[in-house]
């Protein structure tokens, strides 16, 4: 079994509406999710990630394509027959049942013996640290606790795959951070494949083994967080995952995966090129804000980029600078780590130069 993918989406499309109102919420998507993986579907709202999740859960059925669970096509199977459980965004806890009854619901529906249900509920309560609240009504516990009950309820029947539909979006920042760690711990302890839907790129980067970036119903890129961040496949992914500077330019030389690009605003810079890609002529180069630093405009080693420091935004861990480049149009974003007792080197309105780290720039495929 270990070599079979946990879930395999094969050329799945979901069309809503008819005729001129028809639109593809999921458009010819194919992706494989491995056993015991923390897999994230990431994209802006309306990108099709939730529809894809609902197709896997069985709340929607694909217009075409196959959904394989451990090698078996489940595309037409009703949700109550799929060994897959969901943590809903609204939690959807049953308000007329206690915490323990909620957690035991799945096993009871499966017709498991009462003693087994009791033992499993007790184990789940322990797993999510809710033993003390077993007999409370779900309306009598806090949002974070409801979240944990929803998790325990979905994990109790020991599903093959756990689906999580933006489960952390209703929590405040601190609680969300705690739950992120909690989720990772639960995944490691249970060994269940997690498929996690979010629009929060930071959440996706910190939690996932692999990420799928979606837009307009299509899958743009699948990869581990580092690949997604450092080597975005296209402009959309680069833009959606973190802040990015885009520079237009022309390829001058290309050798050994490194190109010299003559950019409009920064002059000649070297940039890495994706393997098996041989760009010519006009290209776009991406440059992450943390791979550039501010310097005096005439400092040696600086790029040819100079401009006026427009805004300084202090973030605690780092500071963001927005520089209006000399062409008067482009805005360049930089991010510098803050050091202890550091005094501000520049003020808003200063003329500044920008120094780039070597090989930080990357040529986009399109």
């Amino acid at each position: 079994m270990a070599d079979v993918n946990a879930v395999e989406i094969r050329n799945v499309s979901k069309i809503f509406g008819y005729g001129e109102f028809a639109f593809a919420a999921v458009d010819s998507a194919s992706v494989s999710i491995r056993q015991n993986e923390f897999f994230t579907l990431l994209g802006p709202s309306g990108c099709g990630k939730t529809t894809l999740l609902r197709l896997i859960a069985g709340f929607e059925f694909p217009t075409s394509g196959e959904i394989m669970l451990n090698g078996e096509n489940i595309a037409a199977m009703p949700p109550f027959k799929r060994p897959i459980n969901t943590v809903f965004q609204s939690y959807a806890l049953f308000p007329h049942m206690t915490v323990a009854e909620n957690i035991g619901f799945g096993l009871t529906m499966l017709g498991r013996p009462k003693q087994e249900v009791r033992d499993r509920v007790a184990a789940m309560l322990k797993l999510v640290r809710m033993e003390a609240l077993a007999d409370r009504r779900t309306s009598q516990i806090s949002g974070g606790q409801q979240q944990r009950v929803a998790l325990a309820r979905a994990l109790a029947p020991q599903p093959k795959v756990l689906l999580l539909d933006e489960p952390l979006s209703a929590l405040d920042y601190k609680l969300r951070k705690d739950m992120q760690i909690e989720l990772k711990r639960l995944q490691a302890e249970t060994g269940i494949t997690f498929i996690f839907v979010t629009h929060d790129q930071e959440e996706a980067l910190t939690m996932s083994d692999r990420i799928t970036v979606m837009s307009s119903g299509r899958i743009l890129q699948v990869g581990n967080p580092r690949e997604i961040y450092d080597a975005p496949s296209d402009r959309f992914v680069a833009d959606f995952i973190g802040e990015t500077n885009f520079l237009k330019g022309r390829i001058e030389t290309l050798a050994g995966g490194v190109a010299t690009v003559d950019t409009e605003v920064a002059g000649r810079i070297s940039a890495t090129v994706p393997t098996d890609f041989h760009p010519q002529g006009e290209v776009t180069v991406v440059l992450r804000p943390e791979h550039a630093t501010l310097c005096a405009p005439d400092q040696p080693g600086a790029s040819q980029m100079t401009g006026t420091l427009e805004t300084i935004v202090y973030f605690g861990t780092d500071t963001h600078y927005h520089v209006r480049l000399s062409d008067g149009e482009s805005l360049f974003i930089l991010r510098e780590q803050n050091k202890p007792l550091q005094t501000a080197r520049f003020a808003e309105g200063d003329r500044v130069g920008i120094a780039l780290e070597a090989n930080a720039a990357r040529v986009l495929r399109n």
Binding site: P79, N85, A92, F94, G106, A154
Partner: protein
């Protein structure tokens, strides 16, 4: 500090409110008061007595009419509530679709049609069926009451369902509940207070009906309201007050029971 606007602090509010409560409850208080009159009059009180209550309980016509009313109301409210529950489930436990508003309108339209129109229509319709089938039992009244009770039962049930998260049934299905089990263990327990409210509303509406009953009933099928209507054409005695008072107590009792049943659930 400026206080928020409150209608309660407007000049004359208290006077108007008291006036309204008097208009609502004074006639009823007078009615109940004269039910205990020892004399025969509805205008002069001759001392306290329960004789009119005793008289009403001994009156075979009153007993027959009451039992008939309760029988019709029980059957009609039950059938109407089942139909209304199914209609409410079909119109709310689904993503909104085109034509849904039209369905609401069709279900609620009987509330807008003047009762007298329905009454005349049923009279003509049932007369024809009576000739065809030869049947002239209580079935016609029960059918008529069921029909006009459906929208009344539908309203509280739909209101309850609309406040219910649509994902609850999805969650049940996700946790291995078949559609029937999801209904049995999730929808129905949560819907129960709405069904109870719908049933009681339908029951009271049926019990109270005069116009349609008057038109549809055959000879000897008087319900309590039509019997009372027939009686007050002759001499009115405090017996009517006594019957009304018992009716009033009954309905207060039902509402109280409902209140406590409903409060236990969340």
């Amino acid at each position: 500090m400026a206080k928020a606007f409150s209608v309660q602090r407007q000049r004359g509010f208290t006077a108007i409110a008291i006036g309204c409560f008097f208009a609502l409850y004074l006639p009823i208080i007078v009615l109940v008061f004269y039910a205990f009159n020892a004399g025969e009059s509805l205008s002069s009180f001759d001392g306290f007595s329960l004789r009119w209550f005793a008289r009403a309980f001994e009156n075979q016509q009153v007993i027959d009419a009451s039992l008939r009313s309760l029988q019709i109301a029980a059957v009609a409210a039950t059938v109407a509530t089942i139909a209304a529950t199914m209609a409410a489930l079909a119109t709310t436990r689904t993503e909104p679709y085109r034509g849904l508003t039209l369905k609401y309108a069709f279900i609620n339209q009987p509330l807008m049609i003047p009762e007298i129109v329905t009454a005349v229509a049923l009279l003509i319709f049932f007369a024809r069926i009576k000739i065809w089938t030869g049947y002239s039992g209580l079935g016609y009244l029960i059918a008529a009451h069921t029909a006009f009770c459906i929208p009344f039962a539908y309203l509280p049930i739909r209101a309850r369902l609309e406040n219910m998260d649509l994902t609850l049934e999805k969650a049940a299905a996700d946790l291995y509940a078949t559609p029937w089990k999801a209904f049995r263990y999730v929808t129905l327990p949560l819907l129960w207070p709405g069904i109870l409210a719908g049933f009681m509303l339908a029951f009271v509406i049926s019990l109270d009906d005069v116009v349609i009953t008057q038109f549809v009933k055959s000879a000897g099928q008087d319900t309590l309201p039509t019997y009372m209507l027939g009686q007050i054409r002759r001499t009115i005695t405090p017996e009517m007050n006594a019957i009304s008072t018992v009716f009033l107590l009954l309905s207060i009792g039902v509402v109280t029971v409902f209140f406590f049943v409903n409060r236990k659930r969340v």
